[in-house]
Symmetry: C3
Subunit: 161 residues, 3 copies
């Protein structure tokens, strides 16, 4: 097993099934696109396969902790897609950048505290050197399938085309 | 004529005039910026030159099909900018990433189905290999000039500076 | 002094203290992450250290000019972070891309005119060749700490790791 797979096991984290559209629908886009030394990660949601795990607005229906957990689940879905595309998460040599979108209730102005659920997961798994990344966190009017969190990212890929 | 220009003709697609500000105003930014092997595409709108072709909110005034068509028109505007900057669309060797923003009416949670209008156009023209890209689709509170769709992108450029 | 530092002095611009979290909190992310030949700039706000300089919505409480000024202050905060990370702003060889988010009041559809406060500052300091960049400007439902503007960017770094 690879180093990152070992670390996931140590943290007792299990990856969800890869992000998939509902039956009868196909995604016309790639979940991960490798270009040069980087992999570009499509906007992911808190899902297990095609099952949406959390829906609603943070600060209105969902509280900060539930938003944080949704961001963490979104991170696990991203890891699953990276593993499916790259074969081995050890090929993710470093995290570069993330854009985190939070479906907020009126007046909820703490998107960064929500997206910390993703960022802290990445740091736990990859460590401070490889895991730290630039980041933006904003409130979005509306996310797909009414989910509270959507995250896209750029990572460095070792031995890429 | 280049391969992509041929393909556009085959699909009977005509590119709009390049995105331009209203008379008397200048854009202080570049529609396309090439850096290394990539071209970064500024947020484009469904326009022909400076004429806004569609305005309104999807799910409130505009239906899904009208949003889809606006995303497709936004794609054609992006192609026009790329052609103006690169001289020949054949220099776009591959599509890497897109961020699609949809000005949604309250409760409309299908931004991805709208942005498919862009993604499926790219696949039609560039084909599945070069055309497939990572993508995020979100609902934005407000887009410039009240348009329903704004899309930015990153593409691979062959023989770039 | 470097060329850019000279230019800042000539324009009588002083950089704010680097963006910092409120006392007792740590940012789990990097304000700047260098990867390859590029530096990725996290979403910045109009701040001096941890002090938020402007809050509110453009088009509702804040007018266009106040939004423009907030975008300009956000630019100065980005310059401060780049200087802290790179040691010398002359290492920023070119600006590539920016995403500008504007917390808009209902019906305010001129995010680009707000984000011009950032773009025109960059052009003033770096000049037209190195300063011009691709850009998207959108209205966001909600920004952190109720600020009117958040901007993330990508720049080219000379002599990067």
């Amino acid at each position: 097993m690879g180093r990152i797979a070992d670390r996931l096991a140590e943290l007792e984290l299990e990856l969800p099934r890869p992000f998939a559209p509902p039956p009868g629908i196909e995604f016309p886009f790639d979940l991960i696109k490798v270009s040069g030394a980087h992999a570009y990660v499509s906007g992911h949601l808190p899902v297990n396969g095609s099952e949406v795990l959390v829906s609603g607005r943070v600060g209105e229906g969902l509280d900060l902790q539930q938003g944080y957990e949704a961001a963490r689940l979104t991170g696990l879905s991203i890891f699953a897609s990276l593993e499916a595309e790259l074969g081995d998460l050890d090929r993710v040599g470093g995290w570069v950048k993330a854009l985190g979108l939070v479906q907020c209730g009126s007046g909820f102005d703490r998107p960064p505290a929500v997206i910390n659920g993703f960022t802290e997961l990445v740091l736990d798994v990859w460590g401070a050197d490889a895991g730290r990344h630039a980041r933006s966190a904003i409130g979005a009017a509306q996310l797909p399938f009414d989910v509270p969190v959507e995250i896209e990212a750029v990572v460095e890929v070792a031995g890429s085309r």
